[in-house]
């Protein structure tokens, strides 16, 4: 009995070595056509996708400086084909105003690119929206008519990932 079990187990082990061979299509003299396709493909492991959205550091504008400030996000990502990554920049203050500490006075600023859902390709390396400089920007055109103080606002960068359709 022991010898029989050992013989059976040995046969099974030998069979496992040849598994790949059994899984292939055989081409013989009788095969027509005498060719067969074998598919080689990648298997997507878990957590293979990644993205990094780099948002600008805090921007400090000297009083009286009306230069345009670049506020573009930069995206580096590697996603599955058909996946979508969008970045939207918004200001909770819809009046486009920098506010002082007690919010009693405001300094108007001129933005570009706010509220637009910028979509990035599955493979993006340091890409900025639409590959156009200063797509998202701010500037303060005038500092007149308000008390001199620190005025500020927060821009929110929202990232949305959409998986590819099944």
């Amino acid at each position: 009995m022991k010898k029989l079990i050992a013989l059976v187990l040995s046969a099974v082990m030998i069979a496992s070595l040849g598994l790949i061979a059994f899984a292939a299509n055989n081409i013989t003299q009788e095969s027509d056509p005498k060719k067969s396709d074998v598919i080689v493909r990648t298997v997507i492991p878990p957590s293979s996708e990644s993205y990094t959205v780099q948002i600008p550091a805090d921007v400090e504008i000297p009083w009286g400086d009306s230069d345009v400030r670049d506020m573009n996000p930069k995206v580096t990502c590697q996603l599955r084909l058909g996946a979508k990554l969008t970045v939207t920049v918004t200001d909770s203050d819809s009046t486009n105003t920098l506010k002082n500490a007690d919010r009693t006075a405001g300094l108007k600023y001129t933005p570009t690119g706010l509220g637009v859902a910028y979509q990035f390709k599955e493979i993006s390396n340091d890409a900025i929206p639409n590959d156009t400089a200063n797509t998202v920007s701010v500037c303060v055109p005038s500092f007149a008519g308000v008390p001199i103080a620190v005025y500020q606002t927060d821009l929110t960068y929202t990232v949305d990932y959409t998986a590819p359709a099944p």
Binding site: M13, I44, V59, T153, V159
Partner: protein, 173 residues
């Protein structure tokens, strides 16, 4: 013992045949944060040198003999730090009288209006700087000298003058 080991190893090797069945692909979970903020603010270190103010006062004024009202008002534009104010006060020389420039003893008294201290807010008028003012604020009540007609009578005809001093001070609210 050898037999036990051999059986265990055999079972393990048979199990390896089944591994590909368990390694099927699954959806990827992205767990990174989905939003962040960037702050846009005025550079605090640049504020110290940003204050300016201009008090525009009238030029020296010659008045005709018998004039009963003389407008001597001023106007202000300023941009000061939050919490500050500008105060302007006007004073007249010689107790609000005009003295004879030629040394005579007669004088002409006038009644001033608008001399009292007047406060102006940190943001008064409009302008990018002291040299780029586009909108002024006139003092209210306006600075005026009122000379009753009677004060022109019974005095020698001469040149009488007085000096108005406009005083400006910065302060806190």
């Amino acid at each position: 013992m050898k037999k036990v080991i051999s059986v265990v190893l055999a079972v393990l090797m048979i199990s390896a045949i089944c591994v590909p069945v368990f390694a099927a692909a699954s959806p990827t979970d992205i767990t990174t944060e989905t939003s962040g903020t960037a702050t846009v603010k005025v550079d605090e270190s640049s504020l110290d040198a940003a204050e300016w103010y201009v008090v525009q006062i009238p030029a020296d004024k010659d008045i005709a003999w018998g004039t009963e009202s003389v407008d001597m008002n001023y106007k202000v534009a300023c941009q000061l730090a939050e919490g500050k104010k500008l105060t302007v006060t006007v004073t007249g020389s010689d107790a609000n009288t005009m003295k004879d420039e030629n040394g005579g003893e007669d004088t002409i008294a006038y009644t001033p209006t608008g001399f009292d201290a007047k406060d102006f807010d940190a943001a008064t008028g409009v302008g990018e700087s002291a040299t780029e003012v586009t909108s002024w604020v006139d003092a209210d009540p306006a600075v005026k000298l009122t000379i009753p007609a009677a004060n022109w009578e019974g005095i020698a005809v001469s040149v009488y003058k007085t000096t108005l001093t406009y005083n400006v001070a910065l302060g806190t609210v």
